[in-house]
Amino acid sequence: MSGQRKKRGIRIIDSPDKVLSYFKPEKKVLLLIAIGGTFFNVGMTAGPYFEGRLAQCLYDCIMGRASAGDMLRVAVTYLTVFFFVQLMRSLKRFSGARLRNDFSRNMRHMLYNGIVHMSREEMKQESTGAIMTKAIADVDACATGMQQVTTEIFDTGVLLASYLVMLFVYDWRLTLLSCLFMPLSYAIAMSLKKPVTRINEKYKATAGKLNQETLDRVNNAVTYRVYGREKDRDASYEKILTEYEKTAVQSNLWGNAMTPVYNIICMGGILFIIWFGGKNVLGTGWTAWDIGVFTTFVSCFTKLAQKASTSAKLFNSIQRAQVSWHRIQPLFREYVELPAPKDGESVETLKVSEVSVSYPGFEPVLKGISFEAGKGQIIGVTGAIACGKTAFGKTFIGDTNYEGSITLDGIELRELNDVEKSGLIAYMGHEPELMSDTVRENILLGKEQETESLLKMVHLKEEVAAMPHGEESFVGNGGQQLSGGQQARISLARTICHKKSIMVLDDPFSAVDKKTERKIFEELRRLAEDRIILLLSHRLSLFPEMDGVLFLHDGTGSFGIHEQLLREKPSYASLYEKQQAGGASDEK
């Protein structure tokens, strides 16, 4: 499956936890980099060479040994070669950038696939979310580093080699002599590498600390005010700011400010070039030079020294990429592709017997729940605040564990995997869980269908029509541009849109008034004809019309029809009467 092309050119990477895997599908780009990189860097020597030739030709003209035509010829050759070299440079730059872009795209894709298929246990760890969010930021540093290493093979390797070859051809003794200083500069840079890395790490750590401290100061601003800790916190923030200032200056001093110094050291060899090179021109040196060769040699050497003095910087960026890679490497997983959920067969009976419900790792919240429901029925589930309604509802999507037996036409619920479950059961939770997308997308979640009838069902049609872009209006991050009631109804419309044989609705009427509640209920009644609906609610006004009521109390539940419970369960009766009196009707 390696390098399998998905539409839009994003690829699935085999063994995504190995760096080389990302290079595999990039053969074409790598070839272009190689061509551009080699021609450009070899061609770079043409600059100094032609500058020397031009100067020499001018000298010859002045001496009357050459004509303007000769100069024109040299100039045209110079320009032709130069344009070609620069074209190659463009090619190298562009394909290098594309390589980075490809890396980052594929890495993101692979990481995201891991996130979206993460198991409940992995998700449980509270830091997971934060880690994954940060990891995505590391991708860029990684991709940049990987690209740099690739292009630097040419930019440093080939370039240094071709400059050196050229210098050697002109005068090998002088080349050796003048390049003596480069290893010295390199050695100094390397001996400083450790302290530089340390200072850099300290700077990074302080920057991280500053960010966290800022977030903490802002997040808990009110807490600190209430407890009178603002002054103290400000003082502590000031301390971090001072530390940050200090480390930032240090890190810059050692990281960037040293480059010109390295350059000076590398340039030390120029003394030999001027002295011995001068002798060469005057005919008293090791080889005979004309003036053009002298200038070529000087300018070539200057460029070589510049390149050599920045190589320390290159090592830094590679190191940075390595750190990022080590952070994200353990997060990569092999690509997962789940089968699409099928609409399961229609369920005739739901049977719950002697079920106890618990959050993973905790004592059961509910025990001894039993009831049966058939196709066409709406079952109301209620109880006082914190009676375990929500926990019970979550059992159907596997967020809570159960003991005992829940069967759908004889199939035990826990035997089903997530995909099979989602083919049979639709669940609407407390949280509307809206995405930052349009109203329409939030309902359909990728399905192709009209939404008008759905919006009508949840009594949102007029409100949506009044929005600036109708159903194409954006709902904001997490739906925050809508009211709580609108969010809940969109969530309900979404659940109805993905209707399954069993629908579990946790508090679908929160934040809607009674009239709307009744109307939506009638729609649900119609929907229920060929399915089973469990309606979890703290509002009991509709419960007389339910086909069955599960009343949760004292860690267990009683099942019956409304009238029966009124008679047999005084606590149910009093809950109902209190609400009928109207006093607590809109208390949550």
């Binding site: 998905k6 050119g9 031009l54 001018l58 003209c61 002045i62 004509s67 100069m71 100039a75 110079y78 620069q86 463009s90 872009n101 894709h109 979206v116 298929h117 998700m123 509270e126 979310g129 995505i136 930021a137 966290q212 401290e213 800022t214 977030l215 802002v218 009110v222 807490t223 005010r225 009178g228 603002e230 002054k231 400000d234 940050y244 200032e245 930032a248 200056v249 810059n252 960037n256 400010a257 000076i264 030390g268 001027i274 002295w275 001068g278 003036i291 300018s299 789940l338 914190a386 999507i397 479950k421 989602s422 083919g423 639709a426 930052s436 990728g446 991050n477 993905h498 006093g583 809109d586």
Partner: protein, 542 residues
């Protein structure tokens, strides 16, 4: 321009005149020094053309010039960083001080992520405007002028040639940069979506799983990364061609100059070229285009960072809580006298509310959701001021109680525990070093958390992790945070709302112990039932 970035910078500039002058001096010196080495090289070449030997001193002079200009460049780098860091330090300090003066309502209406981004990203933008923008432009403008000066001095013809090309080059630079900016904006928008999609996925995991829409989410993500890919590809294209074009232009200039010079004495004089100066001038041509390219880039970075400056100014100009004279408190009687309050004038929370809670009394506030029970607490804590009437504690208006004394006077247990960044001990002390370890342990024992905390890897010094504590234990920490200062009044919000019944009774037991001998005002029926005493005060219409 009070309370704006300019005033902060002004204040800072006044304090560090010396540093600023030194920085400017270093910049100018560094620019001037870069002009010399090619001139010396010219001398060398000219001597060689005349078949004269080069003196060692000249060679040393050349290297010396290079060294001085390199050191000045380093120094300039360092000075800029020092100044930039000083600036951001000052801005962040002022912003932090502003936090303490901000109205409490600001924190309710503004997401903390956004405020943090003002502190982090926008201040960094200020730094980039300063060091890469204004100062960088100054330095590069100096460079261009300096080089042009030398070029004109040496070769009038070349000067005119360059002057003719510069406007064209500058326009092209701006054109490409504008295109790039557009692509960058598109990329930033796409990256925003890409980055947002991950936390959104994690937040909506239940829906994703229960509808089995992993594939759908993945495809959506792919669309976003593709958007960013396309935009980046555009930027990369311009990036890839820009600098090669500039280099080609400069080589054209060199070629034209050389060919012209070879066409006879008149031209040669016009270009003022000897073999030596040809070498020097070629070096200058390469150097003049670099700074022009950079100036374009700097204009860009100022433009894109200016939004950050605007946001900081908005932040600094947010309305502040009125500053009040602080007063000493006498007694602990809590009194609401005809208090009316509204967060938003259109929607009053309550009006004409009056009640008194005597010292040592135990009362429960009741009322429907939204009646303003929690608001009563916020007024008592001095976070807000009533529009009408008086809220007094011990005879003093609630918002005049000195901030640093408030804690030993009123303990507030919130609905939800808010962990702060630090060790477990800090959760209780809130970094107040006035409490010694002994007191912390005593308090932890009182709320029944001592054993639990000791079981953590580093005891009280263990870094706080929410996951180490259960919901109930977090509430106990919250109580410990309040009672360690031995407050005379305890304000208890609906603190058991999210707890199961076993934990709830544990928390209530602790509360009962902790509130002995104190005035207690609570919002919870369960507390009322448990503590078995006190009266009810109804807030709002029943």
């Amino acid at each position: 321009m009070k309370n704006s970035l300019i005033s902060i910078i002004g204040k800072m500039a006044a304090k560090s005149k010396g540093t600023i002058a030194l920085t400017l001096l270093v910049i100018v010196a560094s620019v001037v020094m870069t002009l010399f080495p090619p001139l010396i090289l010219e001398q060398i070449v000219n001597r060689l053309t005349d078949r004269e030997a080069v003196a060692v001193t000249v060679a040393l002079g050349y290297l010396g010039m290079l060294a001085v200009s390199g050191i000045l460049e380093s120094l300039q780098n360092v000075m800029l960083t020092v100044m930039g860091q000083k600036l951001t330090h000052n801005v962040r300090s002022e912003m932090c001080a502003k936090l303490s003066r901000m109205q409490a309502g600001y924190f309710a209406k503004t997401e903390s992520g956004k405020i943090t981004s003002r502190f982090v990203n926008d201040v960094d933008a200020v730094d980039s405007i300063f060091s890469n923008g204004i100062v960088g432009m100054f330095a590069n403008a100096c460079r261009v002028i300096g080089i042009l000066f030398v070029v004109f001095y040496k070769s009038l013809g070349l000067g005119i040639l360059i002057l003719a090309i510069v406007p064209f080059l500058f326009l092209m630079t701006r054109h490409i940069q504008k295109k790039m900016l557009k692509a960058q904006m598109a990329n930033r928008a796409a990256i925003g979506k890409v980055n947002n999609h991950v936390p959104e996925t994690i937040r909506n995991m239940r829906s994703i799983r229960s509808f089995s829409i992993q594939k759908y989410m993945e495809e959506k993500y792919d669309v976003y990364i593709e958007e960013s890919y396309r935009a980046l590809e555009k930027t990369n294209f311009y990036n890839a061609i820009y600098s090669p074009i500039v280099v080609c232009i400069s080589s054209c200039v060199i070629a034209v100059m050389m060919v012209c010079s070879s066409m006879g004495d008149a031209m040669q004089q016009f270009f003022g070229i000897t073999v030596g100066s040809a070498v020097a001038i070629i070096a200058y041509v390469g150097k003049v285009f670099g700074p022009i390219e950079k100036i374009g880039m700097e204009i860009q970075s100022v433009q894109s960072a200016i939004a950050g400056v605007k946001r900081i100014n908005e932040f600094m100009r947010e309305e502040e809580a009125p500053c009040c004279e602080e007063e000493e408190v006498h007694g602990t009687e809590v009194k609401f006298e005809h208090v009316s309050f509204a967060y938003d004038p259109e929607q009053p929370v309550f009006s004409n509310l009056s009640f008194t809670v005597k010292e040592g009394e135990n009362v429960t506030l009741v009322g429907r959701t939204g009646a303003g029970k929690s608001t009563v607490f916020r007024l008592l804590l001095g976070l807000y001021e009533p529009q009408e009437g008086n809220v007094t504690v011990g005879g003093v208006e609630a918002n005049r109680i000195p901030g640093d004394r408030r804690r030993s006077f009123m303990g507030y247990v919130e609905q939800q525990f808010r962990p702060v960044m630090g060790a477990v001990e800090d959760q209780i002390t809130l970094f107040d070093t006035a409490f010694c370890r002994n007191e912390v342990e005593e308090t932890a024992k009182l709320v029944g958390l001592h054993e639990k905390i000791m079981s953590l890897p580093y005891g009280y010094d263990t870094p706080m992790e929410r996951a180490d504590f259960s919901q109930g234990e977090l509430q106990l920490l919250s109580i410990a945070r309040a009672v360690i200062a031995k407050p005379k009044i305890m304000l208890l919000d609906e603190i058991t709302a999210n707890l199961d019944s076993v934990t709830e009774s544990r928390v209530l037991d602790v509360l009962k112990k902790a509130s002995e001998g104190r005035t207690v005002i609570s919002i919870s029926h369960r507390i009322h039932e448990k503590l078995q005493q006190g009266r009810l005060i109804t807030i709002g219409a029943e």
